[in-house]
């Protein structure tokens, strides 16, 4: 019989497979803060902008929600993570900024320095 530790290893491999299947290995992973505090600051609308872009054909992007990292006065926050690059954290993102992040960063590869949280 399999030991619980063997079972969890198998389950982990399956979980990772499923995540990869959803496009985790895309060039860019985008995380939008979706805790109560982030939503109150407007992150739901920001998420919609990203979702719409993906629906309209934005490719090679893995879009996910996340909880609150705890940086209250800079919410909503959005992270763009690329393998081999420093993860980019954007603060105070609104719909307009989200559109610009899509155009300039996700499509154009440019980090919009002035919105980056440091």
């Amino acid at each position: 019989m399999m030991k619980p530790l063997d079972i969890i290893r198998k389950k982990r491999a399956e979980a990772i497979n499923r995540i990869v299947g959803k496009g985790y290995l895309s060039t860019k992973r985008v995380y939008v803060g979706m805790a109560t505090c982030e939503i109150a600051a407007g992150s739901k609308e920001v998420m919609e902008v990203f979702k719409e872009a993906v629906n309209k054909g934005l490719t090679d992007v893995y879009l996910s929600q996340k909880g609150c990292a705890g940086r209250c006065n800079l919410e909503p926050t959005v992270e763009v993570i690329e393998e081999g690059k420093i993860p980019v954290k954007y603060g105070k993102v609104n719909e307009e900024k989200a559109r610009e992040i899509i155009e300039r960063h996700l499509k154009g590869g440019e980090v919009i320095e002035e919105w980056v949280i440091k």
Partner: protein, 601 residues
């Protein structure tokens, strides 16, 4: 920021925890700067000193991002090689790389280079902000539920308890009772049924640690509870959470369902003979229900009121059965202790308080947010290094810790290393982790009144000292802030406060006078000014202020029109005056004046 906007190609993090400092982390920083200068790379990246990264035995630690390559035992002789090989040629120095990737430092892979987060240490909030809380796959992929598999494969219940005891973990709900002992008491009880409860009835004004933890990473709490259930021999867990947290509840419900579907909850977990399941009970947001016996009554369907202890819930708890109650943050620590070991956990923190504590940093501080730091971090580090100091260049006056049950600490306590004992000694408490920064514009009497108003409202009324005592104290405070304070009021407050602390039934009453008593100790002169001179130095107690029109007045008449008491007189285009005997001190003239012609003194 450097003046030229060249792109940031790398970030070097040096651990600046106590043992790495001992190993010369600061000198290494200088060495790196010199090497970067030599190679002309100074403008291409940043060097950061972080808080303790928890890899003390392998320090000094140096991390190069991108890639998050962790180097250990770095000496000054290694620096040129790291710079040349890794930064210039892009080839990591394999002989120095250490393979130590704990659960907790996942967070730093993403957020470590942000000043606010860099000085923190995220154990309980390790996944908050980096995974999708609604995806059990995300959690499992980061070694989620491995702690359960480990105990079910290799550990007897008493070994789990021993590990938790050895970790030194103490209750994060506020009282700081050793968690392992609580587990042992419950485990030692013989009973056909036992319960495990997660107390998520977070009620302190301004505190949101538990909400964030559940919304950001619900599975950690579930996993902690399963481990607790296994250790004490319980098959039934209950999360008591306030109905005001709808999103946290939704995510928790989904997490419980997903865990059940994946075989982490329910019958024969992971093929073992251990069974455990969790249900959610909603609280209606009464503050007193955070007290464990009141919480139990509330789950049983009775009115949420405390009862005297002993017997403690570990002996006689929910439905009269042995019950293990821990707070959200306490539960979230448990999987880390199991996977990263008690020996590792107890290296973090102070002698008597191990691990980290989450604080909800709020008030007049530049960076507000959730701060998780090792025990022993000073208030100054939290407020100034992480919080960025006071807003608008104002002067720091006090910090309120522990919510309505805590106290206000003045500047002289800023360098106090935080743990359960030191905060209690300074006249406050750890509490569940509220931390409100107060600047010179706030009146301490008013602050004390605010917190007492809260506890007075939330007093359940069962015992007289709390019900009547807080009411009387609030009356006295109210009259002091209204300029009707009397000689002897301070002594009355002290006598009442000490009496309520001694005679109240539960923690709510026993701690309710703390905000008043601590401000009386540390800011007594403000009370005296209010009573004797009818003055509020912060200018917050409106009824103690005089509104006076100065010579900037152009006679526009705005104040005259808005004054509800008809206290302003004067002809158009000539300076107006306020009749003090008629003025009701509503402050509307001050608000409406565009010329700064109304002073409040």
């Amino acid at each position: 920021m450097k003046k030229n906007k060249s792109k940031e190609n790398f970030i070097i993090t040096l651990c600046d925890g106590p043992s790495c400092i001992h190993n010369k982390s600061k000198e290494l920083k200088r060495d790196i700067e010199i090497q970067l200068e030599k190679k002309g790379l100074s403008d291409n990246g940043r060097i950061i000193l972080s808080g303790c990264l928890g890899m003390c035995s392998k320090g000094p630690i140096l991390i190069v991002n991108p890639g998050y390559t962790i180097y250990g035992h770095v000496t000054e002789k290694d620096i040129p090689e790291i710079v040349e090989s890794h930064l210039v040629k892009g080839k990591p120095v394999s002989r120095l790389i250490i393979d130590e990737d704990h659960l907790y430092n996942r967070f730093f892979r993403v957020f470590g280079d942000v000043g606010f987060f860099g000085k923190q240490m995220r154990i309980t909030l390790r996944n908050c902000g980096i995974i999708d809380p609604e995806s059990i796959d995300d959690y499992i992929s980061l070694r989620g539920y491995e702690a359960i598999a480990k105990i079910l494969s290799d550990m007897k219940p008493e070994e789990v308890i021993e590990e938790v005891k050895r970790s030194g973990l103490r209750g994060r709900g506020g009282a700081g009772f050793p968690t392992g002992m609580k587990w042992e008491f419950t485990a030692n009880q013989k009973s056909d049924e036992k319960y495990v409860i997660c107390n998520a009835d977070e009620g302190d004004p301004g505190a949101f640690m538990d909400r964030s933890a559940i919304e950001g990473d619900p599975h950690t709490v579930i996993e902690g509870m399963i481990i607790g259930g296994y250790a004490v021999g319980s098959a039934k867990g209950i999360v008591y959470i306030r109905a005001e947290y709808p999103l946290a509840i939704t995510r928790l419900e989904k997490a419980i369902k997903d865990a059940r579907d994946s075989g982490f909850l329910g019958e024969n977990i992971l093929g073992s003979d251990f069974s455990f399941d969790i249900e959610i009970r909603l609280g209606a947001g009464a503050f007193v229900c955070g007290e464990e016996t009141a919480l139990i009554h509330s789950i049983e369907g009775s009115r949420g009121m405390p009862r005297p202890r002993p017997p403690y819930p570990s002996v006689n708890g929910l439905f009269g059965k042995p019950t293990l109650i821990n707070n959200v943050e306490t539960w979230a620590n448990v999987p880390v202790i199991i996977l990263d070991s008690a020996d590792w956990f107890r290296k973090v923190g102070t002698e008597k308080s191990k691990g980290t504590k989450v604080f909800a940093l709020a008030g007049k501080v530049k960076n507000t947010g959730l701060v998780e730091v090792p025990m022993g971090t000073t208030l100054r580090e939290i407020i100034f290094d992480i919080g960025g100091g006071i807003e608008k260049g104002k002067k720091f006056k006090a910090v309120q810790t522990g919510g309505p049950s805590g106290g206000c600490l003045p500047e002289k306590y800023l360098d106090t290393p935080i743990d359960y004992e030191s905060l209690a000694k300074a006249g406050s408490i750890m509490g569940s982790g509220g931390m409100i920064v107060i600047d010179e514009d706030s009146c301490m009497v008013n602050i004390a009144k605010f917190f007492l108003e809260f506890t007075q409202n939330e007093s359940c009324g069962k015992c007289t000292p709390c019900r009547e005592g807080t009411k009387r104290m609030l009356e006295i405070l109210t009259r002091i802030t209204e300029g009707k304070g009397e000689q002897g009021d301070i002594e009355k407050l002290e006598r009442l406060g000490n009496l309520i602390k001694k005679a109240s039934l539960c923690g709510l009453g026993q701690s309710a006078p703390n905000p008043v008593l601590s401000t009386l100790t540390n800011f007594r002169e403000e009370y005296e000014e209010h009573i004797k001179h009818k003055k509020c130095r912060a200018g917050e107690c409106r009824l103690l202020l005089d509104y006076v029109i100065n010579d900037k007045c152009v006679g526009c008449g705005a104040c005259k029109r808005i004054c509800p008491a008809g206290a302003v007189s004067g002809n158009p285009k000539t300076p107006h005056v306020i009749d003090k005997s008629k003025c009701i001190k509503c402050g509307q003239c001050y608000e409406i004046c565009k010329f700064g012609a109304v002073d409040k003194k």
